[in-house]
């Protein structure tokens, strides 16, 4: 299985070499904690409006993120 890495810019978790969320190539295989922000019934809704965790972490798109990236 390809290794999961975290984007140092936006914390998005990916197996690609470029972050599909923000386009950064600054990826780290050293991260701890995972946050999954789930989409709403309207996939374009801003999760920060409906989720405390998304609001607190300022995550504006659903997806799987690392909590802490080194």
């Amino acid at each position: 299985m390809p290794r999961l890495r975290a984007c140092r810019q936006c914390h998005y978790l990916t197996t690609e070499n470029i972050c599909p969320n923000c386009g950064s190539t600054n990826l780290s295989s050293s991260f701890t904690g995972i946050v999954v922000i789930l989409p709403g019934r309207d996939p374009h809704e801003d999760p920060r409006k409906t989720s405390y965790i998304a609001e607190r972490l300022n995550i504006d798109k659903p997806g799987k993120y690392a909590l802490k990236v080194r």
Partner: protein, 218 residues
């Protein structure tokens, strides 16, 4: 307006926190709603797609409405899943209400139960804004290395670089003292230094962290 959701804690088998998270994620997003064309019974994942099809359906009749065959009970109700990993064996789920948690975890392997009551915002904030790994560790403390070639070895802290989360340590059972730099994530505190052991001027201010958590409260 702050989101009107609640956060609940679920206990998992230690080491299976991520797999539980993935399975709950699949339960929420892996099963889309199913809508059916009233004329030809062809199925779609949204009302809009069904209506679009109905306009050109070969069996089109004058009247008919898209039929909702299956509605995912969790989509839009489970908002987020948090695995702090600093707390082994627990996964946090943010949902509209408690019932959503029960549906989300039903049948998921490695779920060992749920913690009754809601998790407070203050409690969850502790995990959302992680403290620097070196916090709470000071010079002369005894630590254990938990990862890498020296895993299991005990060492004495000789310097704390809190900002970089790095420590300089010396292995205790080594015949020669070799200082080594190590990331604070790779050690765990075994023993706090006693007062006398802390060299003058290097004692750090420490509000003794209370490790009490929401599930230990009555």
């Amino acid at each position: 307006m702050p989101p009107r959701t609640s956060i609940f804690a679920v206990r998992t088998t230690i080491g299976q926190e991520r797999s539980v998270t993935d399975l709950i994620t699949t339960a929420v997003i892996g099963e889309p709603d199913i809508w059916e064309c009233p004329f030809c019974s062809e199925q779609f994942n949204s009302e809009e797609a069904t209506r679009e099809h109905m306009a050109t359906c070969p069996k089109k009749k004058s009247t008919g409405e898209p039929k909702l065959v299956y509605k995912n009970p969790l989509l839009g109700r489970v908002k987020a899943i948090l695995v702090p990993e600093t707390l082994r064996g627990y996964v946090f789920i943010e949902t509209e209400e408690y019932r959503d948690v029960e549906i989300a975890i039903s049948g998921v392997p490695h779920v060992r139960g749920r913690v009754s009551g809601k998790v407070t915002k203050e409690e969850i904030d502790k995990y959302l804004v992680p403290k620097p790994a070196a916090e709470g560790i000071s010079v002369s403390d005894i630590v254990e290395i938990i990862s890498g070639p020296f895993k299991g070895e005990r060492a004495k802290v000789t310097r704390v670089d809190a900002a970089k989360e790095e420590l300089v340590i010396e292995l205790i059972d080594s015949p020669v003292t070799i200082p080594m730099r190590i990331h604070a994530d790779f050690i765990k505190l075994v023993e706090k230094a006693t007062e006398e052991e802390v060299p003058a001027g290097e004692a750090e201010e420490e509000g003794e962290e209370e490790e009490e958590s929401f599930w230990s409260r009555s």
